[in-house]
């Protein structure tokens, strides 16, 4: 049981690491998207992400200047908040992808 617990903790830590990478990558691929649409796309990819987790991260990354956001209201409907990468965000994403791929290469060297 303690091994399972340890594994779960490790997986949680790992998720924290690549979750932002996945979010930024998806937004970059779509160019511009809103929360609900983004969540659907991430879950369809197999990420299993809850809305209560996604939105606070989007909020924080917007505050940090990694994402840009703007409200859009259609003629008939409720307002939606659309996200896109800022210039700074694009640079951060590029670096994150490099670092992550570098980590994968290292792991492949080390794996038993």
């Amino acid at each position: 049981m303690s091994d399972l617990l340890m594994l779960e903790k490790w997986k949680t830590q790992i998720r924290k690491g690549y979750l932002e990478l996945c979010i930024l990558s998806t937004i970059s691929q779509r160019g511009r998207t809103y929360g609900f649409d983004l969540l659907e796309g991430l879950n369809q990819s197999g990420l299993d992400l809850k809305e209560g987790t996604l939105y606070p991260i989007l909020n924080r990354m917007t505050s940090e200047g990694i994402l840009k956001s703007e409200w859009e209201t259609r003629a008939q409907g409720h307002p939606r908040k659309f996200y896109s990468l800022s210039k700074n965000g694009e640079a951060v994403l590029t670096q994150m992808v490099e670092d992550f791929e570098s980590m994968i290469r290292l792991f492949r060297k080390l794996k038993p």
Partner: protein, 287 residues
Amino acid sequence: MNNDPMLESYLSEVDSYLSHRLSVSDKSEIVTEIKSHILDSKEKQPQTPMSELLRSMGDPREVANRYLSEKGLAPVPVSQKKNIIKWLVIGFLGTVGLFLLFILILVFKFSPLISVNEESEQVRILGGLVDIDGAKGHISIGDGSGNLNFSFGETKERLTVEGVKTVEMNFVNGDLDVEFSSTQTDFSYSCEYAGKTRGEFKFEKQSDVIKATAVPSLGVDCDLTIPQGVGLILQGQNADVDIQLNPQDQYNIKAEVSVGHMNTPPPSHPQGVPVEVRVSNGEISFN
């Protein structure tokens, strides 16, 4: 749909947990985005009950805590609302406790609450704060040492006049009947009175004067009988003073009514027994 009560209640809870920690505009953005997401979910799954969609979003406090955590702020404690209720209860019980303590102190200070002495016809209430003397027909409200009493009652007495030159009395709201007697050798008085007094109301012999000891604030109704050779000094306001002089005696009369009426007094004799009566607002009658 946009104002579903369950959704609004959920959003209100999230907002309350974010209060005081984020700016109004930040909170507004967060709440609006959550609402937008729920409405998108409802559009996509119209058959799914609102309660289930909200459950999927998560507990309002936990959702708020994730936002706060991402911003590096302290999360909302688990039982914030319960703490408020707890402190309200403590505050209420504390107030009740202080009130009971105050009552106990009062009861202790003014014990016994009521004591009755049937023999002397006395009733003392609140440790003597109210003193009822049935024998004298006197009620006193005060500390009993004479600092301030509220009294009403009746008092009568006879006093010897050996060495006494004058009877003196100040009054407010009086009805005074004074008789200069040709037969009585003592000074006597019978008075009904009411009001606040400093000390008990009665006449006392003080050296060569017999003097009323107090001025009841609501008034006096007195019958005074003054023996031969003893003078009178009365001064007060709002009073009717009726003076019956002894035809066998001579009097040095000084009488004055500042507002009111006075009949013509008998002729005054400089060597006579002094009779000084001053009334502000009232009447003086010499018979």
